[in-house]
């Protein structure tokens, strides 16, 4: 099973400029999480901090009992072997062809024979749809192919944590959908903890178990997907619907005068840039391709969410309850329309490490 990533009070600044402060969240083991945020809110910086490429000034990041912010260089390299990271542009080695790029981690860290390496590399290349492109150099292929090759390389060592930096940027909607499916399938197969950083609303609505959002130098919220998807928070509402009206401006923040002017425009009938419908609300999550194993994370998450459901906002509670089967509603002792009261007793035996 994937490992748990605990982030506590993390603060990062470049010189005098604070990127974000006091970020506290837990990536539950084996679950898929998405971090949303407008451009320039430090999502990529957050991702790089998680793998120890950037050192936050305060707080800690605990993985398997080791604090990444303060551990030794040697320990950091050990921990990093558990990570698979997909960089925004794939970050392939320009001097190697795709095959060698994807084989690189295997050749560096394992004593596998060349035949085994070949088998694994070709398997991963097929997984991301790159068969036949083994001999190509990263400079000769499209951005989307580079991205998929980067993903294949991140996967060869069977990582326990997968971090994706904007998997959708530069990809068309169809390929993005395939990639989303691929990530969910992966989660079903290897049960890795996955964090996706993106500003793609479709991914945010359909892929994750947990959803968070960074804005104005802090974490607006992080929790089960239902919470953010049903939130009344103006920032969240504006972001999910992709409209100009709201606290997010072209530059990071917006002053009241601009807001009032925009409101006046909108009242006069000028479009605010969004489609008229409100896309908030809970829609079904992507499921693994038929034939693959059931995602353990879903069951674990259901247990975890049901034990904290009484702390969640009413709308989120209703969304969660509606997504349960009648049988499950009975088992957890909740029903539609009524607020969940006490922590429901777990109907399944709890596993070690599950929150």
């Amino acid at each position: 099973m994937g490992v748990e990533v605990v982030v506590e009070g993390l603060t990062k600044s470049f010189g005098k400029q604070t990127i974000w402060q006091d970020v506290t969240l837990t990536l539950p083991p084996g679950e898929v999480s998405v971090m949303l945020g407008p451009s320039g809110t430090g999502k990529s910086v957050f991702l790089k901090s998680l793998v120890g490429l950037l050192k936050p000034e305060q707080g800690k990041i605990v993985i398997n009992g080791t604090d990444l912010v303060r551990c030794s260089e040697h320990r950091l390299y050990e921990i990093r072997k558990m990570f698979g990271v997909l960089f925004q542009d794939g970050a392939l080695f320009g001097s190697m062809n795709l095959y060698d790029n994807i084989a690189f981690p295997l050749r560096e860290h394992t004593r596998k024979t060349e035949a085994e390496v070949r088998r694994i590399v070709l398997e991963k290349m097929e997984m991301v749809g790159l068969v036949g492109a083994e001999k190509k150099l990263p400079g000769e292929i499209s951005g989307g192919m580079r991205k998929r090759a980067g993903l294949a390389r991140a996967l060869v060592l069977d990582p326990e944590i997968i971090l994706c930096d904007e998997p959708d940027s530069g990809l068309d909607p169809v390929r993005t959908a395939y990639l989303s499916q691929l990530l969910i399938d992966l989660n079903a197969q290897i049960d890795a903890t996955i964090l996706i950083v993106t500003h793609n609303i479709n991914i945010a609505r359909t892929v994750p178990d947990n959803l968070g959002m960074l804005f104005r130098r802090e974490l607006v919220m992080f929790g089960p997907r239902e919470v953010l998807l049903t939130s009344d928070e103006p920032v969240v509402e504006q972001f999910l619907n992709g409209r100009r009206l709201g606290p997010i401006g072209m530059s990071e923040e917006k002053d009241t005068a601009t807001m009032a002017a925009e409101q006046a425009h909108a009242d006069a009938g000028h479009s605010d840039g969004s489609t008229s419908e409100d896309v908030r609300g809970i829609i079904p999550q992507i499921e693994p391709t038929p034939g693959l194993p059931f995602r353990d994370a879903v069951r674990r998450r259901k247990d975890r969410v049901m034990s904290i459901i009484h702390q969640l906002p009413y709308q989120a509670q209703q969304g969660i309850i509606e997504s349960l089967t009648t049988e499950e509603q009975v088992r957890y002792g909740v029903h539609v329309g009524a607020p969940a009261a006490a922590p429901a007793p777990s109907p399944w035996p709890r596993q070690g490490g599950v929150l």
């Binding site: 790089k48 490429l53 000034e57 390299y77 990093r80 080695f93 320009g94 060592l157």
Partner: protein, 261 residues
């Protein structure tokens, strides 16, 4: 947690500290297994290919200038028989490590810096770290060692080519006596002169490699930053090399007595 104190010159000290840190890391990592033999050979070959021709072309006129200058000087003071001795000494002890260093830094170092810099801005270095591979072990160490090896070898070549150039110009252009030129070789020069020459080349190669790697791994951001980094790497290396040359020469002249004294 880390609060940076600031006073005039703090930035320069910090950079110097980081440069030394990288130097120490490289020395430490050199002994870590597995040694990146393939990368080392490739880089050595690469540095040779960009430096060998310019070095040869520079060392011929360099030897000639020294020979001509010394030729006319020795004639003025009536010491023609020592022309060969003096030019060999000048070429082996000073000219050849400096020529080598300039070319290693200018041709080899700038290529290393540009290569690492562009890898850094393409996030290749980050990716490598995330894959659990130390870029210092995988990329920097082979490059620094290659620069050192090639520097020592080039130094030998410059010495030979320089001395031959000196011989040619002295004997052909200034009507010197071939026999006297060759016979006086060992009048002033001694074996330690060759050792210090090679040692200088080795140290210059190390410095050129470290500075190039340091600037390459820390470009200011964006493609322009890489260009600036290459530029700075070459300038910093030159400054350091001439200073280190001065220090080494001083120590050598103090420690090793001149022949016959």
């Amino acid at each position: 947690m880390t609060t940076q104190t600031s006073f005039p010159g703090a930035g320069a000290l910090r950079e110097t500290g980081k440069l030394c840190q990288l130097g120490i890391d490289v020395v430490r990592t050199t002994f870590r297994r597995p040694f990146q033999l393939r990368e080392f050979i490739q880089q050595s070959w690469f540095i040779v290919s960009v430096t060998v021709l310019p070095t040869a072309l520079v060392s011929i006129p360099f030897g000639a200038v020294i020979a001509l200058q010394l030729g006319s000087l020795t004639r003025q003071i009536g010491a023609q028989s020592f022309t060969g001795a003096a030019s060999v000494l000048a070429i082996i002890q000073q000219a050849s490590p400096i020529v080598t260093a300039l070319l290693i830094a200018g041709a080899g170092g700038s290529a290393i810096c540009a290569d690492l810099g562009s890898r850094k801005i393409r996030e290749e270095i980050d990716a490598m770290e995330v894959l659990g591979v130390s870029p210092i072990h995988r990329l920097v160490v082979p490059r620094v060692l290659a620069a050192m090896l090639v520097s020592v070898l080039l130094n030998g070549m410059v010495s030979v080519v320089g001395v031959l150039g000196g011989y040619f110009f002295n004997v052909i252009m200034q009507d010197g006596t071939p026999g006297a030129y060759l016979a006086s070789f060992s009048a002033l020069a001694q074996l330690p002169d060759l050792w210090i020459s090679e040692l200088k080349a080795l140290i210059f190669g190390f410095i050129a490699g470290i500075v190039a790697a340091y600037r390459g791994l820390n470009p200011a951001g964006g493609p322009k930053g890489v260009g600036d980094a290459v530029n700075q790497a070459v300038v910093i290396t030159f400054l350091l090399l001439f200073f280190v040359n001065f220090v080494l020469t001083t120590i050598y002249l103090q420690v090793v007595p001149a022949k016959g004294s």
